[in-house]
Point group: C2
Chain length 196, copies 2
């Protein structure tokens, strides 16, 4: 329990990746400003000296954490969508089933990128831009599926689905309920049948 993982001989890319991976849930649960680097060192088992060997500043570490989160989340979400349906339109709807699975997890604490952009609100802030990039990558994927499904208004539809997703996440996090997932899915079904 207490630092059960022993240090390896060298702090290689493995160790660095391990640090990022272990720091992620800390920032996700406690927030960015509220999580100090001493706590990161203590909880990850990596000394502050080593941390600052790999990252110039706390912000650099946060950006690396967010990059990992982006990769993990998109891989997981797109994977679940594919697993739950064979058709493009079915996958778009299955996105909300995947969301519900996420909302039901004990560790669910809202969207890390919404929280990141809430704490780093400056328009030019790299963390803010990075958070929006994540949303754009999601929209791109929805757009591809909508086009593949034959929708002429693929752009509009993908933006609508993203808006439903963000609204569902915010309400699920604030209400501690998984209900917004199926609610958003019903709304998506109406919009997918109305649009052409």
């Amino acid at each position: 329990m207490h630092n059960a993982v022993k240090q390896e001989a060298t702090m290689s890319h493995n160790k660095r990746a391990e640090l990022i991976q272990n720091a992620l849930p800390l920032f996700y649960r406690n927030g960015f400003h509220a999580t100090g680097m001493d706590l990161v060192a203590k909880e990850t088992g990596v000394s502050k000296t080593s941390i600052y060997k790999h990252f110039r500043t706390k912000e650099d570490l946060i950006r690396a954490v967010l990059q990992l989160r982006d990769e993990n989340f998109r891989t997981w979400l797109f994977g679940r969508m594919e697993a739950l349906s064979d058709t493009p339109k079915g996958q778009l709807l299955a996105m909300f089933d995947a969301l519900e699975e996420w909302f039901l997890e004990d560790k669910f604490q809202g969207c890390m990128f919404i929280k990141a952009s809430a704490e780093f609100q400056s328009k030019e802030d790299a963390i803010n831009l990075q958070s929006f990039d994540h949303k754009r990558l999601l929209e791109d994927h929805f757009h591809n599926l909508a086009a593949e499904a034959g929708y002429a208004q693929a752009t509009q539809l993908s933006r609508e689905l993203l808006l439903l997703k963000e609204g569902a996440i915010v309400l699920a996090a604030m209400s501690h309920s998984h209900a917004p997932a199926m609610q958003a899915k019903r709304m998506a079904e109406v919009l997918l049948s109305e649009t052409n």
Copy 2:
């Protein structure tokens, strides 16, 4: 005792209200953890000693700020909805026109309650609960209007509108664009015509 309390409350009321009002934009712009009490004292012109005479902790001040924000925002939003339409259904749609006005303001920085619940995520946290209360008050108002408009599924409809509103706010804040307002309005129009 009763007399003394009454005196203190009366005397302090102006200064206290002024402090809350001036602290609000500070927390809104800079975030809660990132805004120190020294900055609050400096920017509001109220000494730290006086601040801590009125509020036991920083959290108490934040809660007072959020209470003011809740009152101000609901008064403004509901007022704009009434000003823009005479009918209940029209007011529900006009909500998104009001949102667009908000998004276009220079000072727009997203929803203060989403940001508050993002920084104070603990389920039992008073700030978190208070933030959700705000959303419930909005949903209640939407519910009343939907029922007044004759919708049988007023509960479902009011939740859908709230979800659209939250999604639009998040995307408007992250993308620095007002477009999500009209996008959500179009979605609401579809849902209002589909539901009965």
